[in-house]
């Protein structure tokens, strides 16, 4: 079963969809409760999130800090714009590498799908260059495990 889809749209969007067996309420909670977020929003194997601030209210702050325990670290900051409990989240975020990347505007929807949930995440980057930069960063992180030589390059 193909659970996740990821595609680019136009010059500036990235759309991700994923189905979950749990109802929207649970999936929404897993996106807004720091104790739950720290268990899954980790990226490649070996990374942990020692700092997770998530103030799930309009204007509330987001701060996620990741480390691989071997000197590798980076963080994301953001702000909530809108929250419709169990249905929809709109927030902006940026990565610090360490310079902040341009804002990624993200709308996340949680729609009931049978007894489960269809989640749709729509990311909007300010321009095509920024989107490419973001995708490139994802690639560099994904490659880390097998390309140790890259350490210190980025």
């Amino acid at each position: 079963m193909t659970k996740m889809t990821l595609k680019t749209e136009g010059d500036t969007h990235i759309i991700v969809t994923r189905r979950f067996a749990a109802p929207p309420e649970a999936v929404y909670r897993a996106h807004t409760d720091p104790k739950l977020i720290q268990q899954w929003l980790l990226g490649p194997e070996g990374w942990t999130m020692p700092v997770c601030i998530n103030e799930a209210r309009p204007g509330g702050k987001i701060r996620y800090e990741w480390t691989n325990g071997k000197g590798g670290a980076f963080h994301v900051t953001g702000e909530y714009l809108e929250l419709e409990p169990y249905r929809r989240i709109v927030h902006v975020e940026r990565m610090h590498l360490p310079d902040p990347t341009p804002d990624n505007h993200i709308e996340t929807r949680f729609d009931a799908d049978g007894t489960g949930t269809l989640m749709t995440m729509r990311m909007t980057l300010p321009d095509a260059q920024t989107r490419a930069g973001m995708l490139a960063t994802g690639m560099e992180r994904g490659m880390e495990a097998s390309y140790v030589r890259l350490e210190g390059m980025i």
Partner: protein, 116 residues
């Protein structure tokens, strides 16, 4: 010759620079002159040309001669790089969501336990 396939080492060095990543992204939209490429960056044309040379040497882009112009476009390896960026993001997200499935099933079990 294997020059058309992606040489990861050369590609990674070339892509370590954000300006060069941005140039590659711009070329994803089609063939572009050096003048047009220089526009979005606060950079002189020689500086942009230097970046283009690194990308060319890495086999990521190619040039064409058109009168006095030398428009650049993505080479096959450059297109592969863009595809890989998407694939890597996909794999990182997939790992996250597989973990989230686990978290969600734990919540569900705990809830059922509370009801008993």
């Amino acid at each position: 010759m294997s020059s058309t396939s992606l040489n990861l080492d050369a590609a990674f060095s070339a892509l370590a620079d954000p300006t060069r990543r941005a140039i590659l992204a711009r070329l994803a939209k089609g063939e572009t002159t050096v003048l047009e490429l220089a526009k979005p960056f606060d950079m002189t044309q020689p500086a942009i040309s230097q970046h283009l040379k690194v990308l060319e040497d890495a086999g990521l882009i190619v040039r064409r001669v058109e009168g006095t112009k030398r428009p650049r476009r993505l080479a096959k390896a450059g297109i592969e790089v863009l595809d890989q960026w998407l694939a890597m993001l996909r794999s990182a997200l997939e790992k996250n969501y597989d973990r989230l499935d686990e978290v969600l099933s734990t919540i569900d079990r705990r809830k059922k336990g509370e009801r008993q």
